[in-house]
Amino acid sequence: MALVVATVAFVLIHLAPGDPAAIIAGPDAPAEDVARIRQSLGLEQPLHVQLVRWYGRLVQGDLGQSIFLRKPVVDAILDRAEPTLLLTVSAIVIAALLGVPAGVLSARFHNTATDQTFMVLALLGISVPNFLLGLIFVLVFGVWLGLFPVAGYSPLEDGWLLTLRSLVLPAFSLGLVQSALIARIARSSMLDVMREQYITTGRAKGLGERLVVYKHALRNALVPTVTVIGISFAVLISGAVVVETVFNIPGLGRLVVSAVSRRDYPVVQGVVLVIAGVYMLVNLLVDLSYLIIDPRVKYQ
């Protein structure tokens, strides 16, 4: 799979109609500049040679050289990774902490006002794009109420409290939307489990409703919920790319968007590959987590 992903990332840069070096250099660039870029990217080689070299460089952790930043792409990515990582982790914590209880409560109080309120909110939640929610948060909590900074990011070296404050609005913009999805899945998997016979047996032998719901039903409903939390983490990494633009956070999202406008293809390629790698890693961890959550699951 990693090989296929690396190949797709390689192909992306070669999709541009015409000479990529000429596109990167711009329409008025002198021929020498175009030739220099072509050489620095190795574009003068046949395509299969370029592909093999690309694999070779990847194995050594070399993603190439940024044309605009004039430094290795790996360094550019590492410089910008902190805000994206913290934003994604905060957002997934918010999404899980809000989504799972909302889904569980909805299922427990199925077909009541509580259930309907949570599900209407969840439906509205999945219909709001995260960047729109971010703009509304900036307007309400930043501009009108002045509670949080409207933009920017305080790095961890300035103190974690400042970092946390700068991440509250972006993390909620990302996390709230995803919590709606988690709530819907948690509710439906809880409802499925609540119809199982062992739940009826638990009730019949006199177990309290809380014990039945939170001990017996919840654990068994966690497999699909953890799956969606894992998928959410992967979705949030890409969501962070958009939300970083709303809040002007200097993370991987800003890096890749600036690289697109500067036609800095090696950076685009590098960021895309790293995010895809993290995405695959998270999916693998989600698969492995089933072994802990559900003892019936066994991998050969």
Binding site: V8, L15, L123, L135, G239, A276
Partner: protein, 297 residues
């Protein structure tokens, strides 16, 4: 003349009309259909509903919403109502075109991978490779290569969602190709192409239609996100994402630049989600019984 009178054609409701009745019995689905229809009508009749979205009235820049400009004006004095209305047209175009592209690509790849075992591994590895990239990241990377234009946005988002359709189609085809009627067709010497078109394709359309409704919503959202980031349609094209991107810079002075296009996106996506849920419930045999009864949510 036969002793048994044939029923009049209008006496028994057709399957389609019965399904439609079941479909719209759930109020939320009807609400979704109305919201989507509203967006579609606004998009189709945009030239009759509003002025030229590109016309600049510099003297009226950042004008508050009122009688002259219902949704106010932007920093260049352009009518936000006109831009939102034409934005609906663009969203509709992108949604329809992406669904068509993703369905054509996904059906072709999925049918080939599912029916011909020799092609399965090669096709699905490419599809899995594309799916390993988060949607918006892959779309950004494709736009970086293709350059900003409406066609390229459609192509980029279409490529992103093709593997999702292909995977669903392949899953269905793997089951259908083992059925007795396909086996019988093969035994009769029917060609593979005819079996695929006549027997396999019609039987794997239900999940594809459901997937298509969600791809539509995802395409509208992705287009808005790409345009918001400045890597989607060119800035002069009225798109909800472009209006939001401009509005971000004037959030304090002109919040209407965010609120109106934002509401348009929300209404459209809400409608598509409700409609998508309804289509899924109707076409999924496990949920069909539930769909025939009014639901609480």
């Amino acid at each position: 003349m036969s002793a048994v009178a044939r029923p009049a054609p209008h006496a028994a409701p057709s399957t389609a009309s019965r399904m439609l009745r079941v479909f719209f019995r759930r109020k939320v689905v009807a609400v979704g259909a109305v919201l989507v229809l509203l967006t579609a009508l606004v998009g189709i009749f945009a030239p009759m509903l509003s002025a030229d979205p590109g016309r600049m009235d510099v003297a009226s820049r950042l004008h508050r919403p009122g009688a002259a400009y219902w949704f106010g004006t932007d920093d260049l004095g352009r009518d936000v109502f006109a831009r939102v209305v034409y934005g609906a047209r663009l969203s509709l175009l992108v949604g329809v075109a992406v669904v068509a592209l993703a369905l054509i690509g996904g059906l072709t790849a999925g049918l080939a991978a599912g029916y011909f075992r020799r092609l399965d591994n090669a096709i699905m590895r490419v599809m899995d490779g594309l799916m390993a990239f988060p949607a918006i990241i892959l779309a950004i990377a494709l736009m970086a290569s293709l350059g900003p234009s409406i066609t390229n946005v459609i192509v980029a988002i279409g490529v992103v969602y093709t593997p999702r359709v292909a995977r669903v189609v392949r899953g269905s085809v793997l089951v259908i190709r083992e059925t007795a009627y396909v086996e019988a067709a093969r035994a009769l010497g029917v060609t593979n192409l005819w079996i695929i078109l006549r027997h396999v394709l019609p039987n794997c359309l239900s999940p594809v239609i459901v997937q298509g409704s969600f791809v539509f919503a995802a395409a509208v959202l992705t287009e808005a996100a790409l345009s918001f980031l400045g890597v989607g349609v060119p800035p002069y094209v009225p798109s909800w994402g472009n209006i939001l991107s401009d509005g971000r810079l004037y959030l304090q002075q002109a919040p209407w630049l965010v609120l109106y296009p934002g509401a348009a996106i929300m209404i459209t996506i809400l409608g598509l989600n409700l409609l998508g849920d309804g289509v899924r419930d109707l076409l999924d045999p496990r949920l069909r019984g539930a769909a025939s009864e009014p639901k609480s949510t």
